[in-house]
Structure formats: structure tokens, C-alpha cells
Amino acid sequence: MNGTTTITATVAHLLTPAERQHWKLAWLSCVDHKRIGILYMLTALAFFVIGGIEALLIRLQLIVPNNTLLAPDTYNWLFTMHGTTMIFLVAMPAVFGIANYVLPLQIGARDMAFPRLNALGVWLVPFGGILLHFSFLAGGAPAVGWFAYTPLSEAPYSSQLGVDYWAISLLVLGIGSVSTGINFIVTVLTQRAPGMTLRRLPLFTWMIFCNAFLVILALPILNAGLVMLLIDRLLQGRFFLPFGGGSAIMWQHIFWAFGHPEVYIVAIPAWAILSEVIPVFSRKPIFGYQFVAASTVVIVFLSLLVWAHHMFTVGLGHAVDLFFVAASVLIAVPTGVKLFAWSSTMVGGRVRFTTPMLFCVAALLQFLIGGLTGISHAVAPLDWQTKNSYYLVAHFHNIFVGLIVFAIMGGVHYWFPKMSGRMMSERIGKWTFWLMTIGFNLTFMIQHVLGLAGMPRRTFTYPDLPGWGWMNMVSTIGAFFMAAGSILFVWNLVISLFRGQPAGDNPWNAWTLEWATTSPPPHENFDALPPIHSRRPLWDYANPDRPDPVVPVGGAIDTFRPDKIKAGVLTFIISEAGFFGVLILAYLFYNATSQSGPGAQQLDVLKTTIFSICLFASSFTIWRSEAGLRANKLGKMKAWLIATIVLGGIFIVGQALEYWHLFQSGVTVGLDLFATTFFTLTGFHGLHVSFGLLALLVVLGVALVSNLKHGRFPALGAVGYYWHFVDVVWVFVFSIVYLWPLIR
């Protein structure tokens, strides 16, 4: 076969004959989870190059003491953009991409539960990324670190638009991530093949499923914080500005309540890849499936609980520190269980050190180091000494690069044959591996020493102290090793796509369902599925004489398969509850002591009570509307639906009148803490009511024009859930904002 025909054949793989007619749109408009997964990964790769170049510039600046290559401001831009890019635009899209490709295949599904929502999620990534990087053209990138601590990130101290772009782009990315999280949860719950019970899920899928809960719970916390920051910056709000009565520490709480789970949001998929690759190349089933699966749930739970260990140096007091030292050290138990399970899987196995396996073993070892230094940070007194030093930089790069990037690279080498139908070059792969691991350890291991020697992080240069110069030189040289490794990795991807050996269906002799179809899989994924009785269906199929023990079906929950749309809305509501939870907590915190100036006492409780009754009544009317649908009385259904819209409309008009009245008497968002929190909380609720009204209008429109004779109209039930939720939120908001001041 000569080169031209290979390339033509590959291009033929990328597009079906029908798509060649409109090839410009074929990938842009597609909703196939496999292509979306690849788009996610390509986006991540593009931003990996950008974030990598930023890292190299940082390392070049630090190569010698007192260097003047970069100005201090430029350095601050670069480390902010490097951190933000690598976490939100590289790690998250990369793991979402792999999961998007693999998860539906592993459960024998045809696609994700909501393919169009999936497309929305993937396209929000480049959109958010471009918004973030546009700040370079709009007067300067953010220079506040990826954590954007207030008050530095507030308008008086960062007056340029960089932080606004940063916050808006993260908001866009956060919404995309929540949509993807919802999609993973609903896909696992509703799209499983017959026989694929919840207890038979491959570990990769199980861990992505658990992780999706973390995504929908943690991201809304950040989103709430971001809108508060934006209200501060753009509407002169007072949340995080100490001289306006606000609390700068509040931002840190919100940020780390998201930020700590975020580490696990990218780490759990990395562990998921390890749990898939290590058994396959050890030729043994995973040691202790139950322990790995259960410890994942424990980690999801604990990670939401222990954020304050990021704030030991803030000065929260000994009492607070003490509790969070104890809770943080506990995380070592479930992670230790995992390390033990992976190591024990290799013991006594026939280990094959292919490129994917090499990357995963390296990830395991680097994670061991990063995990141990992590425990050292859980101990407050040690943390005080090392927090602001390169010791911490070394620690978290062991997790983010050593564990996560290595696991992702292992995963890409492992699943590339499935995605492309061709093997990646093992020779280039091993070169990539050694360049990456040697480069990584040169760069970061020595930073532990630098940190303990006292070199502070986030500083654009350093004095010529004994030893600091050569250690930084080594670190920078290591970074270029990694750059070379990354270039080889991309080269390997390109060359293998065109010239790689044909892979066949199951090149690694693996056991999960994605290997039961062709490489690449057809659009509909499977022609036929093997029977599923255990966690390794392909092993059972290939070894009918000695199959895995059957994983029994024990009750309804194993075959639980809720309605897709309702499950989607309910998951969305969980996530929204998190968002409102943060806003309500902020309201309670800021209004615990009553201030001078207009407060909740000035509100017209009677008028609002009347409008609130309208809103509560609309919960009743939409319930009647659904009852009408169930009884197949479509006239009744439509009438009650119209009543719901009218009642919701009255509420919104009432709220608008209240706002108008307050504005007239000089109460605006920036007036004082009460006004800021009041308008934020009620405003976001009003926004949700408005969206609910729009959805109701759409449902009414559909009901009026279409023929609903079968009594099936799932959209009404879904909007109904959402509407009830908005009403329940108002029960809380109304009690806290309007009734609480009357009784206290």
C-alpha cells in the first residue's frame, strides 16, 4: 500500500460516504458520542500546547537567578493562564473526552442519553477557552492566579478586564461541565444494555459515574462564587470587599469548596483509566473490585468535606484546623485502598509493559509520591511551613502531571486503536514515555528540595542563593524533556493515524464491551452484544469453560432504569440546589448581624406574600395539568397549563414592581451588604422563574400544535419537576428574606 492510498483510506474512515457531500459540517454538526469524545480530546490537546508553551516560558524565566526575560506582570499572566488552562481546558476536557468515547461503549449503549446536550458541552469548551484567551487582546490577561483570591481579584485592585474574562469563561466552562456530568449520570442509569446491571459496570464506567455526581455538586459552587465575584466587579456589589463590609475569606471558602473536589474530578477519571489498563496488561481481573468501587464513593463524599485544609494559612483558628487535619488525613485510607488494589493486581500477573501499561505504572508511582506529600500538607503545622513554597508546586504537579497527564496518555495509547482502527507506534510510544517520565522527575522532584530550602512560589524571580540556581536549571531542562516527549506524542498520533498497523477489534485482548465491536465502531456502535453475566463479558465469551463468577441480580435496583427525561431534570435540580444553597448560605452569613441602612425590614412583606401565594398556587395548577394529561383530558391539561403560566407571570411582574420600587428609593445592588445579597438571591430566583416560564410557554406551544392522543408528553412532567423546584426554592428564600426578620 503506498502512502496516498493509506491517507485516502484513513480519510474515508473519518467521514462516511454520505457525509462527504457536506464534509464541512460533518464533524461540526455531529452528535455522535465518539466524535464528540474525539473533539473533546483534540480541544484538550490544542490547549495543552498553549498551556505547555506558557509553562516553558515560566521555566525559561526561572532558569537563572534574577532573570529579566519576562516582566513581573507578564509572569503573573502566564502562571494564571497556565493553571487555569491546564485544569479547565486540558485536564477536564481530556477526561470528559475519553469518558465520552468509552463509557457508552462499555455499557453497550448506542449513544449518550442526550446527544445534543453532549454537543453543547463540547462546544462550550473552545468557546470558554477563546473567551479566556481573548483577555490578552482586551488589555491584559488575569494576573491573580487560578484561584483568583479576593480582594486582589476585585475591581479596585485588578481594574482591567482580565478577571472578568476569566470569571465569565469559567462560568461558561462550568455550565458545560455540569451538562456533561448530568449526561454521564443519566446515560449510566438509562442506556445500559440488557444484563449490564449496576453491579456489573466496568470499573472505569463506575468511577466516571461516581465522578459525575462530584461534577454536578462541585461546579455549581464555583458558578455561584463566580457570579458573586462578577456582581462585585461589574455592579459594585460588596460580597468580597472587606472595606464594604464583605468577607474576602468567603471567596476562599467558596473557591476551595469547589477547588478541592475539582482535584478529584480530574483524579478519579485518571484512577478509572488505571483500573482499566492495569488488569488488562497484568492478565488478571482487578484485585478487589468492590473495594475500589466503594472507596471511590467514599472519596467523592470526603472530598466535599475537607476543603478547609487549603486554608490552614488563612488563620481560621486552631479549632477549625484541628478538625480538618483529622478529616483530611482520612482521605489517605480510600486512596491507599486503591493503590493496594492496583499493586496487588500486578502481583502474580503476566505483566506486559506496553506503552499504555508503562504510563499507568508510572502514574501509580507518581501518585504514591504526590499522595504522600499530600498527607504532609494535611498536617497543619507542616503546611504552614511549605504552603507558599515550591514543595507545594512539586506536590500538586505530581498529582496533575504525574498521575493525571500520565494516566490520560496511557488511556490515549490504550484506546487509540479503538478510535482509529490503527495501533500507535510502540517504538515512538516508549520514547515518549521515557522522555516524559525522566523530564517530569527532573522538573519536579528537585522542586521538593527547592521548596524546603525556602523558595517561594508565584514569584517571578529569585535571588542567587546557594544551590537555587543549578536546581532551577535542572528543573527547566526537565521541562524541555517533557516538551520533547509531548511533541513525539503528537507526532505518534498523526503518523499512527495514517500509517499505523491495523488494530483489529481487540488488539489488547481486553474484556470490556468496547472491544466487542469493530475499530473504529460503526455509528450505531454494536451489531450484536455478547451475553453479559459478569464484569468481564469478553472473557466469559472467549472462555466459556471457565467464565468469571456470575454477578447476581439482587433486586430492582440492579435493573433500575428511570425515565430518561425525568432523570435528567432531577439530576439538573440537584445541581441547581447546590447553586442556590451557596447563595442562601451567603445571604444568611452576610445578614446574620443587622446593619444600619435599609434592610429586610423595609420590604413590603404583605405584597410579596400575595405574589408568593400566586407562585405556590402555580405548583398546584401544574400538578392538575399533569393529572389532566394522565386522564387523557387534553383540554383540562392545557387550561391548567395556561393558569400556571399566568400565575408565574403575576409573580414575575410583582417582583419587577418590587425592584422598581426599591430602585426608586435608592436601593441598588451596590448600596450595602443587604442590598447585594438580596438582589443576588431574589434575582437569580427570578431568572429561574423566567426560564421556567419560557419552558412552560414552549410546552404549551407544543401541546397546542401537536397531536397528543397517546397521553405521552414527557416534556410536561420534566418541566413540572423544574417548576416545583423553583417554587421550593422560593419557600426557602421567602422564609429567610421576608419572614425571618419578623420573628428574630
Partner: protein, 261 residues
């Protein structure tokens, strides 16, 4: 007074608690005989009596909000759970149609016991009035039992399924954590009676403030943190037990019914 003297002297005699425990023990032995689950009952009664007679009770009676919180957690989460675990597997706790069989009712019971008793007037009244205090203790035990029934009912078919139980416990933890967070960081006193103890009956105020370093502010923080962190670890332990229950293969009870899928 030193810490040692305090720990030796601050035990209170509580006839009601002792009599109730004795009655419970006799009733149990009469109903179920001396079976092998009786250690759970003994543990439950032990924790119950200790909570109400030990120096913890003396501290909770007006001195330390954090001591009150520990009592609260023990009575709401530990004692009822142990009581339910002591029942033989065959005991049914009411039919499916009862109100307490509804998981939402159970969840609300567990969470509201936390929130309601920390409303400022109720929290104060539970310290200053004997009657409200007794009401508080009995309501905690009752609400705790209703909460745990969903997880620990003796009969498997009266419990919720393990994944549902994980969500049930997780969301209960979140709901209580929110209150814990509020109490920890609240700039105002949640239960002002602890900020100004009416009278230093035991003469230990100095000990608490200077030796133990528990000023009213720190005391409230510790109280909030107890509700936020260790209490969630109780739920977490229950979650681990649920996961173990789920992944333990019910080979004996459920034959392979793949054809049913």
C-alpha cells in the same frame, strides 16, 4: 478546680435515665430473650446513660455549646442506631403503608431534629427548662429512630436499597453540614445562653475559659465543627456499611435470574 477534680465530681444522678434503661433491658429480654444481638442493646443503653450522667451532661447544662452538640449527636445518631441494630432480624417495624415507612419522612425527621433544636429560642429553652430538656432528649431519640429505620430496620425489605441509602445518607449529611458551617462561621451566637452562663454552679468557668481555652466563640466553633465533620463521618460509616451490603454477593438469597432481564 482542676480538670481531674471536675471529671471526678461532675457526675449527676439521673433516676429517669437509669429506670428507663432498666425497663428497656427487661422488656427486651422478655420479648426476644437473651439473643446474640443483646450487646448492641447494652451499648445503646450504656451510651444513653453515660450521655446523661457523665460530666458531659454537666457541661452541656449551660456551660458548653460544644458539649451540648456532642450530646445531641450521641442521642440522635448513635443511641437509636444501636437500638435498631439490637432488634432480631425478624422484627417488623410497621407496615409499608405507615407514614414512617416513607423515606422522605425519615429524612425530614433526621434533619429537622438538627435544625429545629438549634433555632435560638428552642436551643435556649432546652438549657433553661427541665421540661423542654426532657422533651428534647425524647424527641431526638424518636426522630433518630425514624431516621435510621430506613437504613437499619431489622427486616431487609423494610430498608431502602443500598444506592438509595447512600443518597439518603449523603443528602442528610449535606443538610446537617450546612447548619454546621453556619454555626461555625456565624458572627452571632446561635445559643446565647451558653455565651452568658446564668450562674457558675460548679465553679468551673475559669477552668473552661483559661485552662481549656474554650471561650464562647471557640466553643460555638467547636460545636459547629462537631456537627459538620464528625457527624458526617457517622453518616460516612453508614455509607460504607451500605456499600459493603450492596457488593456482598447475595448468592444464597437471590438465585441468578438473568433470564428475567
Amino acid at each position: 478546680m482542676t480538670t481531674q477534680q471536675f471529671l471526678n465530681s461532675a457526675w449527676t444522678w439521673n433516676t429517669t435515665a437509669l429506670v428507663l434503661s432498666g425497663v428497656a433491658l427487661i422488656a427486651y429480654a422478655w420479648a426476644f430473650g437473651l439473643n446474640r444481638r443483646i450487646p448492641y442493646l447494652l451499648a445503646a443503653l450504656g451510651v444513653f446513660v453515660l450521655t446523661l450522667v457523665s460530666p458531659l451532661n454537666a457541661l452541656a447544662a449551660g456551660y458548653l455549646f460544644s458539649a451540648h452538640m456532642l450530646q445531641h449527636i450521641l442521642l440522635l445518631l448513635i443511641v437509636p442506631a444501636l437500638l435498631l441494630m439490637s432488634l432480631p432480624r425478624s422484627v417488623s417495624l410497621g407496615s409499608r403503608s405507615w407514614l414512617i415507612a416513607n423515606p422522605f419522612v425519615g429524612w425530614i425527621a433526621g434533619v429537622s431534629a438538627m435544625w429545629l433544636w438549634h433555632a435560638r429560642p428552642l436551643c435556649n429553652a432546652a438549657v433553661s427548662s427541665q421540661f423542654v430538656n426532657a422533651l428534647q432528649i425524647s424527641s431526638l431519640l424518636l426522630l433518630g429512630a425514624i431516621f435510621w429505620r430506613q437504613i437499619l430496620a431489622p427486616r431487609e425489605d423494610e430498608r431502602i436499597s443500598p444506592p438509595g441509602a447512600v443518597l439518603y445518607l449523603f443528602s442528610a449529611c449535606v443538610a446537617c453540614s450546612i447548619l454546621g458551617i453556619l454555626i461555625t462561621f456565624s458572627p452571632v451566637s446561635v445559643c446565647p445562653i451558653y455565651a452568658q452562663p446564668p450562674a457558675d454552679r460548679l465553679g468551673i468557668l475559669n477552668l473552661i475559659h483559661t485552662k481549656w481555652g474554650l471561650t464562647p466563640e471557640t466553643d460555638q466553633q467547636v460545636g459547629g465543627l462537631l456537627m459538620w465533620v464528625p457527624m458526617c463521618l457517622v453518616y460516612l460509616s453508614a455509607i460504607v456499611a451500605q456499600l459493603a451490603r450492596w457488593f456482598a454477593h447475595p448468592v444464597a438469597s437471590a438465585p441468578v435470574t438473568d433470564k428475567a432481564l
